[in-house]
Amino acid sequence: MPVTKVLTAGIGEANLRDISVYKQRGGYKQLERAMRTMTPEQVLEICDKSGLRGRGGAGFPTGKKWSFLPRNDNPRYLVCNCDEAEPGTFKDHQLLEEAPHLVLEGILLGAYGINCHHAYIYIRGEFKRGYQIFMETVEQARKAGYLGKNVFGTGYDLEITVHRGAGAYICGEETALLNSLEGKRGEPRLKPPFPAVAGLYGMPTVVNNVETLAYLVPILENGAEWFASVGTERSKGYKIVSISGHVQKPGNYEVPLGTPVRELVEIAGGLRPGRKLMAIQPGGGSSACIFEEHLDLPYDYESMAKAGSMLGSAAFCVMDDTTDFVKAAFNLVRFFAHESCGQCTPCREGGHWLETVLHRFVEGRGLQSDLDMLHKVSHEITGINLCALGDSIEPFLASVLKRFPEQFEARVLKETALPA
């Protein structure tokens, strides 16, 4: 089975929080090599050639994102997105706590690659322990001379600020994150301009996920071809998949992109004995479900999109025949309604009222007219919002409503008059 250990190597075996352990395993060598012997452009080129795509959810090619920055020496920023809160995703949390030096080296490499002198990491407020671990990590690295003024005697200054959020899923959206980092309410900005043009403090900014940046280290070590030779045509390299739900051994598993969906279920210990697979949510709370007939698809960006879903943050939630899909749909809609920042009417009102209506179903008081309405409304609140949260309310609901209509119909009140 294709479980590989690249970023996850050593986790659970060695104390990677200790800088001397990390260094023994080759840590900070790539940063030193890059800063001593390579130009930022060469780092960017390797990143681009590797085919690395953003691991935060959108899958945008990382090298391309970096190349949108204006080519001049004006201030620019790199922000590492460690706000991980997409339902079902728990990879960044583990990397932060168990491999913090790898995360830091990745951030510093990324910062050098875009020629920036001040990087930020935005850590989810709930990760208080992870925040403390990372503060300690930064101190260790500073003492060793890997950041600060004149790193490795190259004349390059590189600073990092560790910032902690305070409980808001929406701050994972990159422009909301920037607002939050500026000390404002975490409300997404209207795009364009994109952060590459006007981001943090109005300056060109790259926002990258923790896992994306961490992969820079092995890519620099083994070369762009090594990474690009794994995976499928347009989904290159490895990916940490957070497998949860009705499997026997939930956890983070690192695999080549394109590993068949069926194998992912098996890697995580398979279903409990005697249970039948009903659905898999393959890309976090925002994604539509895939089903039995998709088990042989390769798990990559294109195949998931073709199946009507997405790879997203690679949170892979398995549901067996004990699942109440009405409750599951209510659960996720409630999540998005709760986390909506409230700027856009379709997202704010749509999410809230969908939650209300679905709650009726959970209680067995659904209306016949609700059923048609659910089909229509879920489509109509997408595509017209400021950010992708508004578009995330619908996919799971729509997919299970279509697949398991009987579960919803069974919750319709027999007397279908509107309550006064």
Binding site: G125, A166, T175, P250, Y301, A328, E339, E349
Partner: protein, 250 residues
């Protein structure tokens, strides 16, 4: 410790935080975190002090603080129990765990016990779904919950022997720490025109169950000129092309 004394004690730390950022306002969240650690909540005095140090209006600070669910705007219990209600936890029995907590504590979501020891909240996915069902106590994780564990934990908290330290508690907590949920301004039972609105066609047109509001979202002519992707294509064609190739650009 009264507030002016605390403020003088924390002032150097605040100044160090401000110095970390290119613009002082970025220090707002970390400073509120700092005061909350010492006072157990984001007190009005703390918000005023932060406003003064950052040269912002109190309204700006309050509005920002109120956006974030981890800032408590009223005092809370010694142990803030935040139990996950995310989907992966739900699939693994979170509802039973919630019911058990509610029964043992005698309170519900967003409430504090009368003795001021426990505050209870059901929270969204905590990014530890492989250890479902899980929770945080004063932001430290507790994994793989069972009723027996919960009993032992609550008992240890009552007797003050629990391994996770209690929150600072400078004030008696009330029944909840929510002043007013932001979202209630716009919808829910409290929005203008929604409070038992007798005529759903008036004032926002919400009826008690939301049917009419949803109907309107469906049938109303769309206000935006086109959907996000098309709007993008008009303004920045180069990016829109890449978006089409590779999925969304956010």
């Amino acid at each position: 410790m009264n507030f002016p004394v605390l403020l003088e004690k924390l002032r150097p730390q605040c100044e160090a935080i401000i110095a970390q950022y290119e613009q002082p306002r970025s220090a707002l969240l970390p400073m509120i975190h700092l005061f909350q650690e010492h006072e157990g909540y984001a007190s009005p005095e703390a918000m005023r002090a932060v406003a003064e140090m950052l040269q912002l209006s109190l309204a700006v600070v309050e509005s920002t603080v109120s956006f974030y669910t981890l800032f408590f705007r009223k005092p809370v219990g010694k142990y803030v129990l935040q139990v996950c209600r995310g989907l992966a936890c739900q699939l693994n029995g979170a509802e039973d765990i919630h019911a058990y907590f509610r029964e043992r504590l005698g309170i519900g979501h967003l409430q504090t016990t009368a003795d001021g020891i426990f505050s209870y909240e059901e929270v969204e996915c905590l990014a530890a779904c492989d250890r479902a069902t899980c929770m945080q106590v004063n932001l430290e994780f507790v994994y793989d919950l069972t009723p027996q564990m919960i009993d032992q934990m609550l008992e240890a908290m009552r007797t003050g022997t629990f391994e996770i330290p209690p929150m600072a508690q400078t004030q008696e907590p009330g029944p909840t720490w929510i002043v007013r949920q932001d979202t209630q301004v716009s919808h829910g039972g409290k929005s203008i025109g929604a409070v038992d609105q007798p005529n759903p066609n008036n004032a926002g047109g919400l009826d008690k169950d939301g049917v009419i509001m949803l109907d309107r979202i469906i049938t109303q002519e769309q206000r935006f000129r086109g959907r996000t992707k098309e709007r993008l294509a008009n303004v920045e064609p180069s990016i829109a092309a890449i978006v089409d190739q590779n999925g969304s650009a956010h």
